[in-house]
Amino acid sequence: MSTDSSSAASSASNGAASKSLADVSANRASHRTPGNNPIGSGLEARGVHAWFSKHHALSNVSLDFAAGTVTALIGPSGCGKSTFIRTLNRMHEFIPGAAMAGEVLLDGKDVYADGIDVTKIRLQIGMVFQKPNPFPSMTIGENVLSGLKLAQIKAENKDDLLEECLVRSGLWNEVKDRLDAHAGGLSGGQQQRLCIARALAVKPKVLLMDEPCSALDPGSTLRIEDTIVELAKSITIVIVTHNMQQAARVSDYTAFFLSDGGPGQMIEVGPTNEIFSRPSDQRTENYVSGRFG
């Protein structure tokens, strides 16, 4: 497996502003082909619909996330991308009046099947939210390991796990001397990487990221993007983003969502460089070329 994809990505991200999106993504994903990457787990959505009470928010989305790939979901606000990502790990059902239809298969098994323990699903499909949300009453170390406590999982060697997760989320060097400090003292970007470390500690097979950088400054955003690229070597990632540059920099595949007043739909999906260079749908082209959205 190629390891220079990440360095290619970071160098690409530095010069991204001057290049076209297609060039950026071509640099990024040229060596990666799904299927050759036997890591993480595949996630597949089949005919997913979502409702909020009477409001039909998402219509008939079928999308296959191959193991070990990064898929970006792009599209204008209100097109159902966030709703979609939340149906994947069953966070959608917390909204009163929510309903859905279709199937979500994790390693071939429907996560909505009768008698499934939903907490086990969420352990396997982790999530990082828009706003960094560490638990303020816990220290940095406790935050990272909080998932173990919450799900009552026993870890063999907590210190190793703690270090591993913080290293993978790119935060280790910054916090290794103050693991007992409260998480509130970290900057926004550090808090978000802490949340990523927290999500990683329960060893999920898939990581969902719902606009993880939208509340962060550009510098922190780049650091998170590096982390994502690094993580993609070992885990399946789905990321919702408003930022097309970001989609181009980090993802292997891109799916474009749009709502024409009715429920949100997926317009098209494909390898990221194709979506940005020669999309098959006119609406996608309008969006990626910045004509609307």
């Binding site: 005919g47 619909h49 409702w51 039909h56 219509s59 008939n60 069953r90 059902e93 929510a98 309903a99 859905m100 239809a101 279709g102 909505y112 099947a113 009768d114 008698g115 323990d117 939903v118 799900a151 009552q152 009715g262 429920p263």
Partner: protein, 348 residues
Amino acid sequence: MSTTEVKPLRPWAITPKQMIPSALIFSGSFFITLLVLAFTPLKGKLAFVVFFFLFSSLANTIYSVRKRGRKALGETVAASLIFGGSLIVFLPVFSILFTTVRKGVAGLHLTLFSQSMANASFLDPVGKGGLLHALIGTLYLILIAMIISVPMGIMTALYLTEIKGPGSRFIQFIVQAMSGVPSVVAGLFIFSAIILTTPIKASALAGAFALAILMIPTVTRTSQEVLLLVPSDLREAGLAMGATQWRTVATIVVPAARNGLITATILGVARIAGETAPLIFTLGGADKINLNPFKDYNSALPFYVWKGLSLGTPESIARAWSGILVLIVLVLSLFIAARTLGTQKMKK
């Protein structure tokens, strides 16, 4: 679109099939509890509830642990405790309502609402005399307390929401502190500030003063909540048309909050209708009808109950129960009125 055939589903909702184990657990515990009560010396409704709760939580815990593993243990035990705690809280409420109705109805009689206790004693059999004097006294008390505290409460709320003067945070704090003044202290205050100091002696008026002190914070806080719900663009619209603040408040803000302000008043009345302690110092306590609220001793429903309770004979206690039934019906209807107005407001 072809999406019309797809039906919204809630796969996370509990299906009837999933409810079968729970139903089995609960009916099983029910029968075991019956057996335990039948074959052991433990008896009574309370024992039934306690054992039913213990057996069903135990069975539920074992079932979940077997099904979902050890991590369900804490979850189920916590849920059982939370549910059991709530049960303990709601049992007395129903016991209180049930007892009041059962014992109160026994004391109802023909002359209850047509006579006072002028020609009867609390120790007489229940058929004699009535609580008309107390009902009239309570109406006077409520009316006068309303006349004092509704304008004061609403004005204070207007100060907190419309003027937002430099002291409003402090006043907010004071109003909150005032709502914690014990009712007995309010009574003592009126006794020492009015009855000892001014020509006003123990009467419905003095009693109403004491009740008003308790009512003002309730009216203020509820009014403040509803005034805050009035959208600020309504206020700005008024001011932008060149209206004075006074005209804006009087013609736009207050009418928009009208239902809520009425609710605030009703809640205030419900707060004071059952107060006994302050009346002990301020009302005097008469046994006959006194139509003059400004002079001479008067009575009130809670006072009537209190008198019956303190005399302690079976007849007087029967009178107390019927008095409390009348009082509870009054409080309950006020409460329902406030709720209905409140929900109407929200639906709009």
